[in-house]
Amino acid sequence: MRAFLPIAVVVAVLAAVPLLIHSNVVLNFLVVTLMIALAGQGWNILGGYGGQYSFGHAAFFGTGAYMTAILQVHYGVNAWIGFAAGIAAGAAAGAIIGTLAFRAGLRSSYFALVTLAFAEVLRILASVAPITGAGVGLLVKLDLRAQSFQFQSRVIFYLVILALVAVSLVMAQLLERSRFGVWLIAVRENEDAAMALGVDAFTVKFGAMVLSAAITAAAGCFYVQYFLFIDSGIAYGAWISIEALLTPIIGGVGTVFGALVGALVVKSLGEGAKLVTGDVPGLDLMIYGAVLIAVIRFAPRGLVGAFTDARAHLARRLMTSRSAIKEVARG
């Protein structure tokens, strides 16, 4: 149980935020940040723990978003059922793309390319197909009631996305401690060696892909409920593929809190830049690019990794200085 204590503390602190801060701007910022953290946590399962760097997680975000929106707009399905269906659709997209890509044995650059291509194909299809609203997009009808997954107060939305993020944190923690997680990390470190030891690399990567896609799809479903609008550029655009991989890499790739830390840092930097210079297009993304390169250069294990390294280093120094003092005292 002790392993889950940090998660409980972090979630409790975040849950207390609306008690102290009532600003809608801040709450809106936090909702969007947590949504990106959720999408990033999805990427982190496959990319961070499994070492399969997808450049097209928009495929899952968008599929979840469109499934939720289409079911509500065209078929009048309840939003909560739509939400669950969206996650299932994202997982199914992950299963299909995962089967194709991993059966073909695509790794590294090839895997990055094929995921990117799938996201682009879906974007083009969504920009012409009538069911997705083609170029216009889909508007979900405003209906501020809990049973249609819409809330008058932003606080409720905030608590909902926080709960989803909390679930994703627990999932990563469970993964780390499970046999499946160990197999996945083994595949990341050396796929051929893992296979030689009897790990079924295909099944492990496939499972990680489905879980990863489902989590990122949940972020897409939430997007639709929060903004009540989706179009092909948002759903399948490169922005979400990039933010989904940016957050865990900056925060700490293959760590439980990496995506959350990364999203908080990246989004704060983006908003901070906007405050300083006004809303100039391109500036926030420029900073994201620079931070990404700087983190890989100077802290390849991300901020969480750098923090644990620093703590271990400090502990070691403390130990040696303590034993030195003892030596002197004895001496």
Partner: protein, 290 residues
Amino acid sequence: MLSPVILFTAVLNGLMTGAVYALVALGLTLIYGVLHIINFAHGALLSAALFAAFFAYQKFGLDPYLAALLIAPAFFALGYGLQRFVIGPASHGDDRNMLLVTLGLAVLIENALLYAFHADTRTIDLSYGFKSVDLGFTFLSLPRIISFAAVFAVALLLWLIMALTDTGKAIRAVAKEKLGAELAGIDVAHIYAMTFGLGTACVAIAACLLIPTYYANPKAGDAFVLIAFTIVVLGGMGSVPGALLGGLLIGVVESLAGFYFGESLGQLGIFLIFIVVLLVRPRGLFGVSA
């Protein structure tokens, strides 16, 4: 039913477009062949080069074809510096990190352009921009004929560099066997940077060939690069003849598909080819091994 003349014109136009695709792909495949990574910053560098060619004409009245003689060396230096001082040191010798750094560069460059020049689309007016050549049965745009010829001149030049110069030999040695080349005294970091520089110079020349009939915009390079990915995969990653043939082939496919199904679906056709090739024959049509 369409007349054969119209069809033939579509094929010719496809070949013209395809030649520029091939040049962009050539840069990409060269870098892949040696560094074994896809350079995701390729498109952003193409956009930057389009702006360079645009401003060379706008501010100094330099004809794009002449400007190429300046922009290509400048972008060679830029590419060399990026690999030597940014991508190389930042990636700690890990392929996945290298991919991410090039992606970070792409985001950085593209948005720096957006920040500096906004999203406006800029074009230049050249006296020969709309000139066309009468082939008897159809007309072809003059700038596109020039670019078609120039692409093959560049490919020949590149081949000569690879075949005859010491740097070219060193590049081929590193591509074949990195460790062996290093043991033989080749400075691999330098060769990596040279290769990256050559790939970037290809993009700069492509930009100068494009600007008479195309436009500069922070995202202008993206469209070409997604196509270049397809070409590189189709032709076999690292294969130079594969990139040339693949480029021409994709140009024709796009032209015909656009003709029959409309523009956006023509693009879809390219991506479907891309995915099918990746899944069925990832080493491409001419590649030796994946």
